[in-house]
């Protein structure tokens, strides 16, 4: 049960983006389209799980003084491998995500989880934590990119990253004359981020207030 709680925490309560405010740079930058968000989310999940597992494996033999450099080397290697794979098998995704794939290295979520969780817990727990946090990140970028793409282009378009010609989903909801292109730029990213972070904050407050009320009643 505890394991599941740990895993679930990453989704909303300890959502890395909207609650812990980690990895915001990439969140703001790549959420222009849902397609990008899916690509980035999946990459982050893979890197996060693998780095958590590896770091958890070597946690007992890693000397304490150099643990951060060791983590960085591990994470950087994983990210570089992912980048090469994306370049080779999903070139269109590589073009649209650009520099933000290599920048996963410095995404604080990954180093943060390595330091705060994987270096102190077992392999399975660390993998689950990686999955939970990765899903939390993906959920956050998906939510942001959905709003931004919808408002800035009037629709949602999702294509197969391995074959650009294959369109999975193509929705048109808002007529072209009513779209707000500012949501496609960084200003729109900040606005969307603020609104969503506020909503998550309000939800958390609401839950805490409820719990407190229930606790009082019991007394």
């Amino acid at each position: 049960m505890n394991r599941f709680e740990n895993f679930k925490a990453g989704l909303i309560k300890d959502n890395p983006v909207f609650s812990l405010f980690l990895g915001i740079c990439s969140t703001l930058a790549i959420t222009t389209t849902v397609n990008n968000a899916i690509g980035m989310g999946v990459s982050v999940i893979i890197v996060l799980i693998m780095s958590n597992v590896i770091i958890s494996c070597v946690r007992k033999i890693t000397p304490d003084e150099i643990r951060i450099p060791v983590y960085i080397v591990i994470i950087a290697t994983l990210v570089k491998i992912i980048q090469m794979l994306i370049q080779a098998y999903a070139p269109s995704l590589n073009t649209s995500l650009g520099v933000f794939i290599p920048l996963i290295v410095v995404n604080c979520i990954i180093l943060g989880r390595a330091e705060a969780f994987a270096s102190k817990n077992g392999i399975l727990d660390s993998a689950l934590d990686g999955l939970g946090m990765g899903l939390g990140y993906t959920l956050a970028v998906l939510a942001m990119s959905f709003i931004r793409e919808l408002i800035s282009t009037g629709g949602i378009k999702v294509v197969n990253p391995f074959n650009e010609a294959q369109v999975w989903l193509n929705l048109h909801i808002i007529p072209e004359n009513f779209t707000i292109s500012i949501f496609g730029s960084s200003v729109g990213a900040f606005i969307t981020f603020a609104v969503l972070a506020a909503a998550v904050g309000a939800y958390k407050q609401h839950v805490t207030a409820k719990e407190e009320a229930a606790a009082k009643e019991e007394k």
């Binding site: 070597v58 033999i61 890693t62 000397p63 003084e65 150099i66 450099p69 060791v70 080397v73 591990i74 950087a76 290697t77 570089k80 491998i81 090469m84 794979l85 370049q87 080779a88 098998y89 070139p91 073009t95 650009g98 800035s152 282009t153 292109s181 496609g184 730029s185």
Partner: protein
């Protein structure tokens, strides 16, 4: 002293393993990446000249004193310049073909542009393309008002390419 050796050794081993993993991944993906790039380039050339065969484009092997010209292809009586110019964010990558003799712009095709959609991204769109094709590449070319950060370098890139045509012949 022992401690330093131990730490150094540990870090060296970790880095060596990481290097090995990277070398392996690189070996696996490098040919695929090269193939992708080549195919993409051929596709954009074919988009300019749909009637051509992808083997008709001959790469010109001549070092040019230019930072913006990436590659030059020869096709019939035009030179096709693959240019990378600055602009907003990532700049613009485009292909422009210039007639060897008349120095007229035959075709223009933008590959990528990092500018804001609806503003600088107009350099990839049809009206701008139309405004260039058929014009004299050495003469005056119109930029897009309100989007000069991207369209300006494109125009000066074309001017630069036009100057290089004689060197290539």
């Amino acid at each position: 002293m022992n401690k330093i050796v131990h730490l150094g050794l540990f870090l060296a081993i970790v880095s060596a393993v990481a290097g090995g993993a990277l070398a392996f991944a690189n070996q696996m993906t490098a040919p695929v990446i090269a193939e992708n790039n080549e195919r993409q380039e051929k596709e954009s050339l074919l988009a300019m000249y749909p009637d051509a065969n992808s083997n008709d484009f001959k790469l010109v092997n001549k070092t040019l004193d230019s930072k913006t010209v990436q590659k030059v292809y020869e096709y019939k009586n035009v030179y096709i310049f693959n240019m990378k110019v600055s602009g907003y964010k990532d700049g613009t990558v485009f292909l422009v073909s210039i007639d060897k003799d008349s120095k007229k712009i035959d075709k223009y095709n933008a590959i990528s542009n990092g500018d804001t959609k609806g503003l600088g991204s107009q350099v990839t769109e049809a009206p701008f393309k139309k405004s260039l094709e058929g014009k004299d590449a050495t003469g005056q070319l119109d930029t897009i008002s309100g989007a000069t950060v991207s369209s300006g370098p494109v125009v000066s890139g074309i001017h630069e390419a036009a100057k290089l045509v004689d060197q290539l012949k």
